[in-house]
Symmetry: C2
Subunit: 458 residues, 2 copies
């Protein structure tokens, strides 16, 4: 069953039970990428939140209160996820997001008309462009929605996940502050440190990136709304941008403000590029951390074996009893994709001409996917890996015991060259440092025992 | 309703109507990324095709024919897409794809057991590891499936789409071979060429990349199967790799062969990295082409305006009657994502230690997504944009007429410096070249008219 909807190009048949109208239907047909490529629902809900805010602001500027009320109600339903299936459009469409904006305008009008008349869809009494999109263009509304969605995902998902992982790493740093282990630089044995010190470095990486994320957020908090088509604000009432930012701040509880320059806000996506770059930095840090943890956990017999990682599942389809660092593998794959997404965002951010960057849907979708992957990945890695790690104290002590680089502590007393002779002699003759030192007569027993105390070296 | 399934770590509750078993269920719980992050179905179906081939080869090596038959039947159902909903696992899991391999083993065993006993699931008489995974490891099976899926997507989707777009561009090149237009280099007016020549360059870009894709395919045609866990082939019968490649070639109609070195085939993903790099080259070419087309189509009043692009939808939510180059925007966004995916694939390809690269699911998923985006994007761009372009002959002729760089044709006769004087004089006094040349007396009328023939300059 179909009904006829119209737009400026003519008539279009849409499914009778759909809330959307002609422009959504055209986009479905013109960009057949399939449902795995749908515009992220976080962007749709943020768009609806903007529409809800606009109805309120427009009521104060003369929009018929009956229409404004119905628009608010319909938009709230979209925000609440009640009409998710009415947003079939994909990421790959016009670069301004016009078609997703029109999808939102049409669905909200279609639902508002149903509320007011009992008849679904159409353009009367609520018109998708004249009323739902009143005072707006896709060019300011869509980037506004992307910023709202990004700030929401950052605060709701990413920062809590980051906090959880940082907490797990900091907790390990504290719990293991007295476990002296061998340090390694260039993958070669170096002087000792504690396992707690090593993990404190990981926790600090995440603390640093948390600050960078918050700095990136300040740019995201500036909203393009009010610029309309090219940044001049044509067809929006005076003060619309400020009023909208205040309304969106009230609806979300986040300190959104109107962007100080609407030309920058439409023509560039620098705020999202910078945020994506910070996500990429996070991905770099997570890769270092997860790589270290799986290296320290390598074994169980023929690896470094300093850490025992939780066994969450059988590791192998062919090797019975094998256990693998699967959470680290998941997290490093996630990180690679996030670094790739940032490359996509960078390519998109560089382009787009003059008054409008036209890579917005791709940029928004890539950023939201990165946030989702990192949030889920960090929470999982924290709870299913880091929080369950057991240090293998015996192995760690053995390796310290056998290490040659403790010799460094002798150098201030007997000189670098003599100390090197001892290390070389020990390595060549498979002796302990102590045995080698005494055999070469380069230091006496008492001095050796006074200086070579791994626990004092950290 | 649930039933109990077991693996080497113990008991797990799975939904009563699921075909999968314990390891799939554990992965669902351990990697909660949601259904938008599912392992691409092309990889699942390729995995099932490998399982089907393995049942046949294993029958010749002593697998009970009753079990082999049931495995073949169950695997064929997965290949045919009848059990798609039995593959809930996501991309973000163990880096060997063990969990998706076990998902396939479990579902195929679970369905084969239903075929044989009427009871769904379980491990008897068909065992997921001992029978469905017989002679295999995830480490050779999963990369084999990735190669099969990539070759399939290349031939079924990408090359036809590329051919369609190349055909559209070549058709335009032919149709417009006599339309003389102004050339531009550095975005500044240059000597003339025909619109056909310009478009022939685009078609040739795609022809070159088609050859690169076919070269990349030769590496993808080499299958890891037979290497089992570390490349030595332990637990696979002699000749298993060759027999599997032959069987897979027979089932797909593609010339697959057994990889000459199984250590390379497990430890690296260079074949997929190279393929992804070629997809990225294609993305670069498509960006150039789509950017040119939207630049030549810019206007309608205040742009270059040499081309009229089809109006597929209303362009703007705020500006009535505006039409936008939406297919070019879609294609350049797709290209940016493909370039980003290649970055992800590159990061993944560089890592993974010693006997196994453990970024396989991410690499496979990114490559298949890139192929899907490019295939759908190119077909759409060809049919909804290129094939509908109309050159604006009047505008093109006007711009040639007004161009200063036709003066280049005078240079061999009157010298570079005199020719430059004419161009400069024409520009400063807003004259035609002819007027300027005669006014400066640097060339006579007959010579000018003999030399300045745009149609002869192309
Ligand atoms: O799943 C396998 O067959 C192997 C995995 C591993 O190497 O651990
Ligand atoms: O959809 C809009 O509001 C504007 C699009 C455009 O600039 O063409």
């Amino acid at each position: 069953m179909h009904r006829i909807e119209t737009d400026s190009l003519g008539e279009v048949r849409v499914p009778a039970d759909a809330y959307w109208g002609a422009q959504t239907q055209r986009s479905i047909e013109n960009f057949p990428f399939g449902e795995m490529e749908r515009m992220p629902i976080g962007i749709i809900r943020a768009l609806a939140l903007v529409k809800r805010a606009a109805a309120g602001v427009n009521r104060a500027h003369g929009l018929d209160p009956t229409l404004a009320d119905a628009i608010e109600r319909a938009a709230a339903e979209v925000v609440d996820g009640k009409l998710d299936d009415q947003f079939p459009l994909v990421i790959w469409q016009t670069g301004s997001g016009t078609q997703s904006n029109m999808n939102a305008n049409e669905v909200i009008a279609g639902r508002a008309n149903e509320i007011l008349t009992g008849k679904r869809g159409g353009k009367s009494p609520v018109h998708p462009n004249d009323h739902v999109n009143m005072g707006q263009s896709s060019n300011d509304t869509f980037p506004t929605a992307l910023h709202v969605a990004a700030v929401e995902a950052l605060n709701r998902d990413l920062l809590p996940a980051l906090g959880r992982l940082r907490g797990a790493l900091a907790g390990a740093a504290l719990a293991w502050k007295d476990i002296v282990k061998i340090g390694r630089t260039h993958l070669q044995d170096a002087t000792p440190l504690t396992l707690g010190q090593e993990f404190s470095g990981y926790a600090e990486q995440l603390r640093g990136i948390e600050a960078h994320l918050k700095a990136a957020e300040t740019h995201l908090l500036r909203l393009a709304q009010g610029g309309t088509a090219v940044g001049t604000g044509l067809n929006a009432p005076e003060g619309f941008g400020d009023a909208m930012a205040a309304e969106i701040a009230a609806l979300t509880g986040r300190p959104f403000v109107s962007a100080p320059n609407k030309f920058e806000a439409l023509a560039s996506n620098d705020a999202l590029v910078q945020f994506s770059g910070t996500l990429s930095t996070l991905a770099v840090a997570l890769t270092k951390i997860a790589n270290d943890i799986r290296l320290l956990g390598s074994g169980p017999r023929s690896g470094l074996g300093e850490l025992e990682l939780p066994a969450n599942e059988p590791g192998s389809s062919i090797m019975p009893g094998k256990v693998n660092p699967t959470q680290a593998e998941m997290l490093t794959m996630v990180a690679a994709q996030v670094i790739g997404n940032h490359q996509a965002v960078t390519v998109g951010g560089m382009q787009g001409h003059l008054e409008l960057n036209v890579f917005k849907p791709m940029i928004g979708a890539a950023v939201l996917r990165s946030v989702h992957l990192l949030s889920t990945g960090m929470t999982s890695f924290a709870t299913r890996c880091v929080e369950g790690i057991e240090p293998n104290r015996r192995r760690i002590a053995d390796l310290v015991e056998r290490s040659l680089m403790l010799v460094t502590a002798l150098a201030p007393e007997i000189g670098y060259d003599n100390a090197a002779k001892i290390a070389k002699h020990a390595h060549e003759h498979d002796l302990s440092l102590r045995q080698a030192a005494l055999a070469l007569g380069l230091v006496d027993e008492a001095t050796f025992d006074r200086l070579i105390r791994p626990g004092d070296m950290v």
